[in-house]
């Protein structure tokens, strides 16, 4: 069963674009990466799924239930870590976590202390005294406290130091091993590469690609670099060639399609060097972003 099922979801804020015609689905136990530049509509998509805002058109289902009509029911099994965490300033961390736990039918006391220990959270401090990174830690504990079946992480690592990031990723992997489905939104490709099995790329409110992360790297694009005397970029005027760049007699380009077409071109040339490799994710995404 699909845990998340989004069909032609569209959101406009008045006239300004949120997301347009977004469709995708996420299976149980997956870690789905949702990548795009700032303002692409990542948070909008998550907020629609949490029914904080309502769609202009299209629909979305979580656990097979419509998000608009079954919001409270769905949210029982959801954990959410927003990109910026805000809590009631006057409360103590422990009181806030207990307050949050009181909404779910579980006895989360043990888990509260376990998680706080892992994240090195000081429970007796006031929210208003916490730094950005420490607030984020409260967010992580609060989001995981009730053992949700589905986790929404919206740029979760911002504000965390590298050590904490690693602990956090381990935590997410453990949760995922227990069967928790994770929806991971980020613009940092490294983290997505580390965690996710499948990715969706969003740009200017529209999904431009949904793909297995390995497939994206292996099958789709090759990074080709050819060095030869008097080489013109026009020599590689083939369908499937993009991002052609020339420097010091070396022509670099991305190629998507039957690699034999490129090899045939090259075989007729007098080369001094050639490399064909998988591009880094970074390069793939820059390609999508531009």
């Amino acid at each position: 069963m699909s845990i998340i099922e989004v069909t032609n979801l569209t959101k406009f804020y008045g006239k300004s674009r949120g997301i347009v015609d977004v469709s995708f689905s996420e299976e149980e136990g997956e870690i789905f990466g949702f990548i795009g530049p700032n303002g692409a509509g990542k948070s909008t998509t998550i907020r629609l799924l949490l029914s904080l805002i309502h769609p202009t058109s299209g629909s979305a289902k979580v656990f097979g239930k419509d998000v608009v009509t079954h919001g409270p029911e769905i949210r029982r099994d959801i954990g959410y870590l927003p990109s910026e965490v805000y809590y009631y300033e006057g409360m103590k961390v422990i009181d806030l976590l207990k307050y949050s736990a009181s909404f779910y039918d579980c006895d989360c006391t043990q888990r509260l202390h376990d998680l706080s220990e892992i994240m090195e959270l000081e429970l007796n401090r006031r929210i208003s005294d916490l730094s950005y990174g420490n607030k984020k830690k409260v967010g992580i504990v609060q989001g995981l406290l009730h053992s949700p079946k589905l986790l929404f992480l919206d740029e979760p690592t911002a504000g965390l130091d590298p050590l904490m990031q690693r602990k956090f990723f381990n935590l997410i992997r453990e949760e995922n091993a227990r069967g928790v489905t994770v929806f991971f939104s980020s613009h940092i490709l490294g983290e997505v590469q580390r965690l996710c099995t499948r990715v969706g790329i969003i740009r200017e409110g529209k999904i431009v690609e949904i793909s297995n992360i390995r497939a994206l790297q292996q099958n789709n694009y090759k990074k080709v670099s050819v060095t030869a005397e008097g080489l013109e970029p026009a020599a590689f005027d083939l369908p499937g060639v993009t991002n052609v760049q020339t420097e010091n007699g070396t022509v670099n380009f991305f190629f998507k399609g039957d690699i034999n077409a490129v090899l045939q071109r090259i075989s007729g040339m007098q080369l001094s060097d050639v490399t064909i490799e998988e591009p880094t994710l970074e390069e793939i995404f820059m390609h999508y972003y531009e």
């Binding site: 904080l52 409270p72 949210r75 965490v85």
Partner: protein, 264 residues
């Protein structure tokens, strides 16, 4: 229940501040009253003032030298304070979540928006009830030394009921503003604007016969101290209008809040 209790705790400070202001108002007013009490010269002086001015200050109906008369004039201030406090509580209790950006926490919890509004409205209602009761208690203590008769106690009780009705009306209006207005910063100022506008409407409608129809629009005319004093009860027409107004505002608040996008 947990939302309700948290809101009560979060709003306690504001309740205490309002009660302190009310206590100061009553204490200062009663100490001024000591100059009026059983003083026929003061009565003569008031009689010589222009009637329009007395109307504006709603002083004509009352004999200022008695405790009841004095409290009749005080009622305007009780009404205004009650209206402002209730409207602020109503709008703030909803809109502060968006102002402090805590909606992304509080409305991702497994609760429906209706349940949130209900819990918060009840917490604000408790504040309103407490505010009336405390005003009542302070009044009883403040006038004790004048040994008021039973008629005064009856009148005071009626005034407090009227004050509570005004609170309910403005609590409902405040709730509606908090739920409906996406620009959360404005909901409190709009609430105050409504209070001041309706208050001046009530003064105008008393002074100008042609503006008499305004009495149906402004809640401050629904419960007038002089009418309460002379009839000994609240006018049932106005009670009905009030109830209608409250039901409409609250229903609209629920409807709109359930439908609208939260401002994040």
């Amino acid at each position: 229940m947990n939302i309700f209790l948290r809101e009560l705790r979060a709003n306690l400070k504001s309740l205490v501040i309002w009660c302190v202001i009310m206590a100061l108002l009553i204490m200062i007013a009663v100490s001024k009253f000591s100059a009026f009490a059983d003083n026929p010269e003061m009565l003569a002086m008031l009689d010589s003032m222009p009637p329009a001015m007395l109307d504006a200050l709603s002083m004509r109906a009352f004999n200022l030298t008695t405790v009841s008369g004095f409290y009749g004039i005080m009622f305007v201030y009780f009404g205004l304070m009650a209206a402002i406090a209730a409207a602020m509580w109503g709008s703030d209790i909803i809109s502060k979540e968006e102002r402090d950006k805590t909606v992304e926490f509080s409305l991702v919890l497994p609760v429906s928006r209706s349940r949130v509004v209900t819990a918060k409205a009840l917490a604000a209602l408790v504040n309103c009830i407490a505010f009336v009761l405390i005003t009542w208690a302070i009044s009883l203590v403040a006038v004790r030394s004048y040994n008021p008769d039973q008629a005064f106690y009856n009148f005071l009780s009626l005034e407090m009921q009227a004050m509570f009705s005004i609170e309910l009306i403005f609590l409902a209006i405040g709730l509606l503003l908090g739920c409906a207005m996406k620009q959360y910063k404005r909901s409190a100022s709009v609430a105050v604007a409504i209070i001041l506008t309706t208050y001046f409407m009530s003064i105008m409608s008393q002074m100008q016969q042609s503006l008499d129809f305004l009495k149906y629009i402004t809640p401050f005319r629904y419960y007038e101290a002089s009418a309460l004093f002379f009839t000994g009860k609240m006018d049932s027409t106005y009670l009905l209008i009030s109830a209608g107004l409250i039901v409409i505002c609250v229903a609209a608040a629920y409807l709109i809040y359930n439908k609208r996008d939260l401002y994040i």
